[in-house]
């Protein structure tokens, strides 16, 4: 687990360093002949690693929160954590490798700034990390636990579902662990395969007592993370890892909150409602643009933001208006969170529906490596589903 985690971080760093250095070394060793050339005389196209399946769309610079700074997603997370540790003296951050800055650099600089008793490594044990975090929170201190990849959250499933989620209820509110927040990198990253790409929100959606949140951008991430940390219930905050570096926008330096359990209509429309969260919001945004351009269809795009408890009212209000709903997520289709949304919407808005609700999701397989481009619910699959709904 750890080796792969280090490798994954390493892979991203190497990717960032660029293919350049790699070419130089291979050329110098005389090994280049017969290997890949940018434009081969044989006419076979070079097998490059593919570009991302989405384009990050930054939101306009926020005006109402004071001075902003250009930040990517991991920097926005760092900023939120920095703000939290600054104003809450009980707050601590812990997990695997957080001390040196974290495999995704989310905690860079925090140990130096706040001390080794507040930002520290734990042994390699997710059930321990979450159990330990619950215990801190039971005393009233703020616990911010990092799970290195959402794919590795499962050893902690018992502590999350049987303990954290039920602490307040089972004790008759004598005890709670509301000041616990668990953060984990989430979602596809282009090459993560089975164990560095998962989106496990559906497992947790079935668990009353916790909150589950997924941001789409740096600005959203900082505000939502701060809300999770301050929320008086245990929260899981999934961070789309593919956006850590790729998503850049202006983010306020001071703390601010984005509310939980409120979906955001990021584009208004009249013909069809598109719902997604995290990275997939940028995919459906692009689909909305394609639909307008090619089909003259006006899409209402909703970022759900909080998976549990989810904002039923905003989604239903939209579907009542448009009559059509398409939900899309990377996680596998069966039992994915789109099924919950679909089921509730058909209960509440049955007579308003012009077409069956469409779910464009990952296939019911583990997340594959080399087949990722075929696996993910990309804009073409979403566009095709949208087209079928319009023509229903």
């Amino acid at each position: 687990m750890a080796a792969l985690a280090a490798t994954a971080g390493g892979l991203l760093r190497l990717r960032a360093a660029g293919a350049e250095g790699q070419w130089r070394r291979l050329r110098g060793a005389g090994l280049l002949r017969g290997l890949l050339q940018p434009d081969s005389a044989t006419g076979v196209a070079a097998q490059r690693r593919l570009v991302a399946h989405f384009t990050f769309q930054p939101d306009p610079e926020p005006q109402e929160y004071g001075q902003t700074q250009k930040m990517n997603l991991f920097q926005a997370i760092t900023s939120a954590l920095d703000n939290s540790l600054a104003k809450d003296p009980t707050a601590v951050i812990f997990g695997e490798d957080v001390a040196f800055g974290g495999v995704f650099r989310c905690t860079v600089g925090l140990r130096d700034k706040y001390g080794k008793d507040r930002v520290f490594n734990t042994p390699l044990c997710e059930q321990g990390i979450v159990g330990f975090g619950i215990g801190i929170a039971v005393t009233g201190a703020t616990a911010i636990a990092e799970i290195q990849f959402a794919d590795y959250i499962f050893p902690a499933f018992d502590q999350i579902v049987n303990e954290a989620a039920k602490y307040r209820y089972r004790s008759g509110d004598l005890f709670n662990c509301g000041s616990l927040t668990i953060r984990a990198p989430w979602g596809c990253v282009g090459h993560g395969a089975l164990y560095h790409s998962q989106s496990p929100e559906a497992f947790f959606a079935h668990c009353p007592g916790i909150k589950v949140v997924v941001p789409r951008s740096p600005f959203q991430a900082k505000g939502l993370l701060l809300s999770c940390i301050e929320d008086k219930n245990p929260c899981i905050f999934f961070e789309p890892k593919i956006l850590y570096r790729a998503a850049v926008e202006q983010v306020p330096v001071e703390p601010y909150n984005v509310p939980l359990s409120q979906a955001e209509v990021i584009q208004e429309g009249s013909d069809i409602t598109l719902v997604a969260w995290g990275t997939q919001v940028h995919v459906i945004r692009e689909v909305a643009a394609m639909a307008q351009e090619k089909l003259g269809v006006s899409c209402e795009v909703i970022d759900l933001r909080t998976i549990l408890p989810w904002d039923v009212d905003t989604v239903c209000k939209s579907v009542i208006k448009t009559g059509r709903l398409l939900i899309s997520h990377e996680a596998p289709l069966t039992g994915g969170f789109a099924s919950e949304i679909s089921s509730t919407v058909q209960e509440e808005c049955f007579l308003n529906l012009e077409a069956p609700i469409s779910r464009v999701c990952g296939y019911d397989t583990p997340f594959p490596h080399i087949f990722e481009p075929f696996y993910i619910p990309d804009k073409w699959k979403c566009y095709d589903a949208l087209r079928k709904m319009i023509n229903y």
Binding site: T90, P208, K232
Partner: protein
């Protein structure tokens, strides 16, 4: 790349090096490089003071003889005791010399617990409560340890530690209220019997999953350390729960993060029907402590003074030195696992009788008290009658009380009630209006949504538990 060629001659094919090897070559003089160049064959061996292992993972001495370490299960870690089985002090320097009042409190707590156990076990047999777990034979582990702590030390238990609450003067009324799930239950009727909790007495509410409390207790201890609270956290668990991954997690975290915590293992010989020979193969739980770097001791759990002394010293040092302590209290589960268990299916009545008659924490303490002249048969008779009366009164009262308002089914899932849950609550209210006759509403307080809303607001104002 001339370096690469040279290196290739030394190591063979450079292909085997991979990228890491190439990186090493590009930084000549790196530590790894200097060491790994092969020397010419030399006959002399200089005993070098520097010839010690340098591994980051472990740096003990080298050994040139192949030897496996024998797990020491035969002689094992000795069992510390203060009294013999007849309640006589063996080594007077180990006698804690506790005042009479305190030792009488030990005795009364243990016997009152025993009396309450008998009555509540019976009440389950009669169908009055749904479930019960007795503490027979383990009263010494509870009371000896609880007495050695400060009242504000935080307790995380498993489910067989009611004596800790008893020692902290948790009223009989509240024990019963939780077992009956009646309107006085602080837990609001949410859990099965014996899942006690008390914020005032710093006893975290019990949960059924085993060993989950262990890493939580460690986190609480870490927070106590950061808060300079001069508090210890004590975490109780059985020898069966110690097999869970959460136990391993808790021990390792406590040691690496230097937490002021006492791990108190009640080794009572059985995990339901599973004897210790099927639970572990090493020398019990105490022997695991050193593997984690944890100070450890094994004590006679049926000797309340041994338990007291060990816990007292562990507490003092845990707080002073910010390190964990592991106490394995050897005892015997005289009762069945629970009212759902009949232990005659897997152990002999003779075995149980031995412990009940020959090595019981209550008898041993009574002999001690009697030999000091602090207790006699008359007082024993009177106390038995009085304690039984107290328990029966509490029991009868608990039976008469109604169950809580059913709308409390819905509160405390979150601090605030989410909109969707409120809709479900309203749906049940409407359902009961039509179909209420099919539900046991007579035994419950009247449905009152307002009471639930009020308790939401109170919770928000009250803030977190300490």
């Amino acid at each position: 790349m001339a370096v690469a060629a040279a290196a290739a001659r030394v190591w063979g094919s450079s292909r085997g090096l991979g990228r890491t090897g190439l990186l090493l070559l590009r930084r000549p003089g790196a530590r790894g490089l200097a060491r790994s160049l092969p020397r010419r064959q030399e006959q002399q061996h200089f005993p070098s003071l520097d010839d010690k292992p340098q591994f980051p993972g472990a740096s003990a001495e080298f050994i040139d003889k192949l030897e496996f370490i024998q797990p020491n299960v035969i002689s094992g870690i000795p069992v510390y005791r203060v009294m013999d089985r007849q309640g006589q002090i063996i080594n007077p320097s180990e006698d804690p010399h506790l005042p009479q009042e305190k030792v009488l409190k030990f005795y009364r707590s243990m016997t009152l617990l025993n009396t309450m156990d008998r009555i509540l076990y019976e009440s389950q047999r009669q169908g009055r409560i749904s479930f019960y777990m007795t503490n027979y034979g383990e009263e010494g582990t509870h009371v000896g340890s609880a007495a050695a702590l400060d009242n504000t030390d935080l307790v995380f238990g498993q489910y067989r530690e009611a004596g800790v609450l008893m020692y902290r003067d948790y009223p009989l009324e509240l024990f019963m209220a939780q077992c009956y799930g009646n309107v006085s239950d602080l837990g609001k009727g949410r859990q099965m019997p014996v899942h006690y909790g008390c914020r005032e007495r710093h006893f975290v509410t019990i949960s059924s999953p085993l060993a989950t409390q262990i890493p939580q207790a460690v986190g609480a201890a870490y927070a106590a350390k950061r808060a300079n609270a001069n508090r210890v956290v004590i975490c109780y668990f059985g020898e069966g729960a110690a097999s869970e991954g959460d136990a391993h997690a808790g021990f390792n975290f406590a040691a690496t993060l230097e937490c002021p915590i006492i791990f108190f293992c009640r080794n009572n010989g059985y995990a339901i029907s599973t004897p210790t020979s099927e639970q572990y193969r090493g020398d019990g739980i105490a022997a695991r402590g050193p593997g984690y770097g944890i100070m450890s001791i094994r004590v006679d759990g049926n000797d309340v003074f041994a338990v007291y002394n060990a816990t007292k010293e562990a507490r003092r040092r845990a707080v002073a030195e910010n390190q964990p302590f592991l106490i394995e209290a050897m005892t015997y589960r005289i009762g069945h696992h629970s009212t759902s268990d009949d232990s005659s299916a897997y152990r002999s009545v003779d075995e149980v009788n031995y412990w009940d008659k020959q090595d019981h924490p209550i008898s041993r303490l009574r002999h001690y008290l009697q030999s000091r002249g602090w207790w006699d048969d008359e007082q024993e008779k009177a106390w038995r009658k009085q304690s039984r009366k107290k328990v029966m009164e509490a029991f009868e009262q608990a039976e008469r009380k109604p169950k809580p308002n059913p709308s409390l089914l819905f509160s405390d899932v979150y601090q605030e009630m989410p909109a969707q849950l409120r809709k479900q609550q309203e749906a049940l209210a409407r359902h009961l209006q039509t179909y209420g006759e099919h539900y046991p509403l007579d035994h419950f307080e009247k449905w009152d949504k307002a009471a639930v809303q009020q308790s939401d607001q109170e919770a928000i104002r009250a803030g977190p538990a300490q």
